[in-house]
Amino acid sequence: MSADLSELYQQVILDHNRRPRNRGKLPTANRVAHGNNPSCGDECSVHLRLDGDRIAEISFDGSGCAISQASASLMTTQLKGKTAVEAQKLYDEFHHIVTTGEAPAEISDLAAFAGVHTFPARIKCATLGWHAALNALKSDPLPATTETHKD
């Protein structure tokens, strides 16, 4: 297997793909947003329970490739307890990682996605769940779609 491909499919990603965290609907959710990628049919819904400005609980469901599923799974573990502002900041860092391959040392798990940057067609897979989550935070009634977000 090439170095690029083993960078893309890191153990962390394979693990989240095989055993997704926080997968399923959230009965107590007060925010839901749906994301889809029309070019490949990947779908991801993010369910949130906002407690004030803070994400008290978060889950995702949907279907898609290993990158999109692992990314959404890992995202839920990172966003729990964060405010909307903190979530946006984390997404900005994540976006930087998947588009440049540069990962700051302090962001350990998200750095697993650095390998995505050598596969530009897969960046949208990695960001799908994040777009849904940010829309849910904004209470955006529109489904997140990779066609209206740049990446």
């Binding site: 297997m1 090439s2 491909l5 893309l8 499919y9 394979l14 793909n17 070019s39 490949c40 049919g41 990947d42 779908e43 279907s63 898609g64 490739c65 290993a66 990158i67 599923q69 596969f119 897969r122 897979c125």
Partner: protein, 411 residues
């Protein structure tokens, strides 16, 4: 040199490495590669004959016009149309179907009418009909696809109840781009004709792979793209029976398609000019004619046999890969030159990314067939689609790659 080796030598693009491995191009359902002769036809036109057609009296314009109209006649012969005027050049299958939807269907359909199609249509032969139905108050109905894996093909028995007097149009694909199912086009057209319904065949997947005789099929319209039959992108054809085309209002108007224009209005030329407003895609039409020559020299029966042979080998070897689910006709059954499959635990996009490492060009996704995917309980499949230059050894590369992928993700 074997025939197959000679055929492969005709396609310059095949002789390259991808990710350090020989290219194995199995994405022919999306687009085929181009033989040297088609590429040369484009170069020759731009280097020697480039000029606008029809209205010029100088030497280059006459040469360009002769070549362009010659290509039309060549394509008419290729599909056994009665008259070159029945060949309208378009951008491709999608535009061809949209012309029928805009010009024919909106003029002829009314509230309460039914457009009958199938559950296995590509979005390009589905969405235009939904749009027409919405505009005129008609209904779209679907001929069901049988079997949990769509292995049973179309439910022909259902035609008895579906073909009611309200059905004014039957639109169906000749070969499914997702399943590989070969539909009985002549039978479907005969049934539709018996109740006076107009027929449209989406021949995108069959045109370069099998002998097509529009008169024997008995269709009213037939749509296809050049790029899936060794021709260039951006050129396609709408075939229509002359009597229908001459009555059809033009979808686009402008130069080249009028007899007379006054400040008050205009009158239209007959087909094909009436349906080709503006400067046409001259170079690509000429190169499509060259593609017809090429395919007929190889022989479309030989191509169909080669497709069938590769599909059967693929069915046999893929069916024993752990965790695989193949959709469409079962092994041994007639099938176009493609196989679509899914792994329970590996998404098609991961398959395609991994296979690319082995030099394989595959396609993963919903194949513009979302309703069928949903019906089969799938979100995506991986598709390997074959053509005249593919070899049995390439299927071994595919199978080895899939086994490796399955092992990596599932263990």
């Amino acid at each position: 040199m074997s025939d197959l080796a000679r055929t492969r030598a005709d396609f310059p693009i095949l002789h390259q490495q991808v990710n350090g491995k020989p290219l194995v191009y199995l994405d022919n359902g999306a687009t085929s590669q181009k033989p040297r002769r088609v590429i040369d036809a484009l170069v020759h036109y731009y280097e020697r004959d480039n000029s606008n057609v029809h209205r010029g009296l100088h030497a280059l314009s006459m040469r360009a016009t002769d070549a362009y109209e010659g290509a039309r006649a060549r394509i008419a012969k290729f599909i056994h149309a009665a008259d070159p005027a029945e060949i309208i050049f378009t951008r491709g299958t999608t535009e061809s179907i949209n012309i029928v939807a805009h010009s024919w269907a909106r003029a002829h359909l009314k509230a309460g009418d039914v457009i009958l199609t199938t559950e296995m249509e590509h979005h390009s032969n589905l969405v235009p009909w939904q749009q027409v139905a919405r505009a005129v108050g008609a209904t779209v109905r679907y001929i069901p696809v049988l079997g949990a894996d769509a292995e049973g093909g179309l439910d022909y028995a259902a035609l008895d109840t579906l073909l009611t007097p309200e059905v004014k149009l039957l639109a169906f694909t000749h070969i499914s781009n997702t399943l590989g199912t070969i539909n009985d086009a002549a039978r479907l057209c005969a049934r539709a004709r018996a109740i006076g319904a107009t027929t449209v065949i989406d021949a995108a997947q069959s045109i370069g792979h099998a002998r097509i005789d529009v008169q024997a099929l008995g269709c009213d319209f037939l749509a296809f793209s050049g790029h899936k039959m060794c021709g260039p992108t951006g050129i396609g054809v709408l075939y229509g029976r002359r009597a229908l085309l001459d009555q059809l209002a033009p979808d686009e108007t402008g130069g080249g398609m009028v007899v007379s224009v006054t400040y008050e209005g205009a009158t239209w030329k007959p087909s094909p000019e009436r349906h080709e407003a503006g400067t046409p895609n001259i170079a690509d039409a000429i190169a499509l004619g060259a593609a017809c020559d090429y395919l007929d020299e190889i022989g479309r029966d030989a191509i169909a046999a080669h497709d069938h042979h590769l599909a059967q080998i693929a069915m046999e070897k893929l069916s024993v890969v752990p965790g695989i689910r193949i959709i469409g006709p079962r092994g041994g059954q007639p099938r176009g030159g493609l196989v679509s499959f899914a792994f329970a635990e590996v998404h098609a996009h991961d398959v395609v990314t991994f296979a690319d490492e082995d030099g394989l060009a595959l396609r993963g996704g919903h194949h513009c067939n979302q309703p069928l995917m949903r019906k089969l309980g799938l979100t995506s499949t991986t598709r390997a689609s074959f053509y005249l230059y593919n070899t049995a050894a390439e299927i071994d590369v595919l199978v080895a790659s899939l086994r490796r992928i399955q092992k990596f993700f599932v263990g």
